[in-house]
């Protein structure tokens, strides 16, 4: 069996007295779409942030391609962050830069491409998320859903191996939700590994390969989308049906 691309081993995280993660173990396989599911405050987003080094676990390891990223400093994490991209919940676009400048940002920082090549890549990325022609607009000129799609375009522009999505479809209209899910599936076809944090059940079962259910700081259930949907676990069933937190 192939070695997982990301291995989370015994990760614990505390915020003061609050236990966010209590010895989490999780493998993420290359090319799969894994969804982290759980109630509010169950530590899904903290786990997602830990996978790119935005949060440091208090205990345990996170191995990316065999390298423990919890031991790396900000400078050493740069190489990891070129290979793992993060899509923020509300896009987190730089509001003082145009859309084109937002997308060009990682290219200017990490590549030696010419201005012409950067423009081409920016245009292609915007086309991919269905927002061609919006290069000169400011983030404030776009709707929330469009901003998130630009956030996805910025994340994929360096052609990362892994993309982490923090609630990519929460609060979006059906059109924008479909657009985001289409992008996730398109990227899967290109071999990109995706990890999603979401509460949106229809999204989970539409695109995901596996689902991890977080409860009380632990992975309470892990399985394929079908296994999770047809679960006999009363707690999980209650969560999916919206009867319990």
């Amino acid at each position: 069996m192939k070695k997982p691309l990301i291995e989370v081993e015994g990760v614990s995280k505390f915020f003061g007295d609050k236990v966010v993660h209590d010895g989490i173990d999780l493998d993420i396989r290359k090319g799969e779409i894994l969804t982290l599911m759980g109630g509010s405050g169950s530590g899904k987003s903290v786990l997602l942030r830990s996978l790119i080094g935005l949060e440091k676990p208090d205990k345990g390891k996170i191995l990316f391609d065999g390298q423990d990223i919890t031991k790396l400093g900000e400078e050493q994490l740069v190489d990891v962050r070129k290979r793992i991209a993060y899509c923020f919940q509300y896009g987190a676009l730089f509001d003082s830069l145009t859309i084109a400048e937002n997308l060009a940002y990682p290219l200017r920082e990490h590549t030696k491409l010419t201005d012409g090549e950067i423009s081409e890549r920016v245009h292609a990325a915007l086309e991919q998320v269905g927002l061609g022609g919006s290069e000169e607009l400011l983030p404030s000129d776009l709707s929330g859903g469009m901003q998130r799609r630009v956030g996805v375009a910025r994340a994929i522009i360096l052609k990362p191996e892994v993309i982490l999505y923090d609630e990519p479809t929460t609060g979006l209209d059906p059109y924008n939700t479909r657009q985001i899910l289409r992008i996730v599936l398109d990227l899967k076809k290109q071999g990109v590994t995706s990890v999603l944090v979401t509460h949106d059940m229809s999204s989970i079962f539409a695109v995901t390969d596996r689902v991890a259910f977080l409860k009380k700081g632990k992975i309470a259930a892990l399985g394929t989308a079908e296994e999770i949907r047809d679960t006999k676990n009363a707690e999980l069933k209650g969560f999916i049906l919206g009867e319990t937190m």
């Binding site: 790119i52 740069v78 962050r81 070129k82 923020f88 987190a92 509001d95 990682p106 990490h110």
Partner: protein, 270 residues
């Protein structure tokens, strides 16, 4: 009696917690200063961002600092003119006003104005970036917020605070010349000559050297409180207030310490 006891307990608890917060903030700001100094000489360098901040923080503050200096020069000349005229000392007005502006009022008033305008602006801008996850985005995109956000602002303040002060000194002295010639019947050429001849290079250096430290204080404090922002728009407001209060207080405290250091040095020379 019981209520007084409760009130005292509550007050002492709040005082202790405020003291802890102050110590924590001081430590955090020192850490940020150290990290900034370490990152300053490492690639990449964002020269364009630095120039942009020079324009935003320095050039755009010139009108405010100039109005303050002009008004100070004019008011001081009027006040000293009125006071010294009674003792026949009106002709000392240019020297006294020039000395006061160069050594003390130019630097301190300029930097207090900068602490208000620039310190609050930096804290609000960075705080807004923090609560909208733009600072996290800078990190997630493999770049360093200290290099992109902190260094351009701190460096701009380090260089622009003395520049603004120099400009304010000149404007302040010209304000004095203007009022002296209109209200005190002191000829402009006499005022200018007396103000320049009566001053030494060390008077200028005492004032301008302090502003490098004030600039650093304003830049670091604004960035520190901006980066510490939590909790949405309310948090941004709180950070902005803290940045202005802290940087203004630190500027005034540093002013006394630096003045004392210069005083010891000058006494040693005599």
């Amino acid at each position: 009696m019981e209520k007084t006891k409760q009130l005292l307990n509550h007050t002492s608890r709040r005082s202790v917690s405020a003291m802890f917060r102050a110590v924590e903030s001081f430590g955090g700001a020192m850490n940020l200063t150290y990290a900034t100094a370490r990152a300053l000489f490492k690639r990449p360098f964002y020269f364009r961002l630095f120039l942009d901040q020079c324009y935003q923080l320095g050039f755009k503050s010139l009108s405010l600092t100039s109005i303050t200096a002009l008004s100070t020069g004019m008011v001081m000349t009027l006040q000293f003119g009125l006071g010294l005229e009674r003792f026949g000392g009106k002709l000392y007005v240019p020297k006294i006003v020039g000395l006061s502006i160069l050594r003390e009022l130019g630097p301190i008033l300029t930097c207090l104005m900068l602490a208000g305008r620039v310190g609050s602006g930096i804290a609000a801008e960075i705080g807004s970036m923090k609560v909208t996850q733009q600072i996290d985005a800078i990190r997630a995109l493999g770049t360093d917020p200290i290099k992109r956000i902190v260094i351009p602002r701190v460096l701009a303040m380090f260089i622009l605070a003395p520049m603004c002060t120099l400009f304010a000194d000149i404007v302040g002295i010209f304000g004095g010349i203007f009022i002296a010639s209109i209200e005190l019947n002191i000829p402009a050429s006499f005022y200018f000559h007396e103000a320049l001849v009566g001053l030494r290079m060390v008077d200028f250096l005492v004032g301008i050297s302090k502003t490098f430290v004030f600039g650093l204080i304003i830049g670091i404090t604004g960035c520190y409180f901006g980066l510490q922002t939590e909790g949405g728009t309310q948090g941004v407001g709180q950070s902005t207030t803290r940045a202005v209060v802290t940087s203004s207080s630190l500027v005034v405290i540093a002013d006394f310490i630096l003045t004392k250091v210069w005083w010891i040095y000058e006494r040693g020379l005599q």
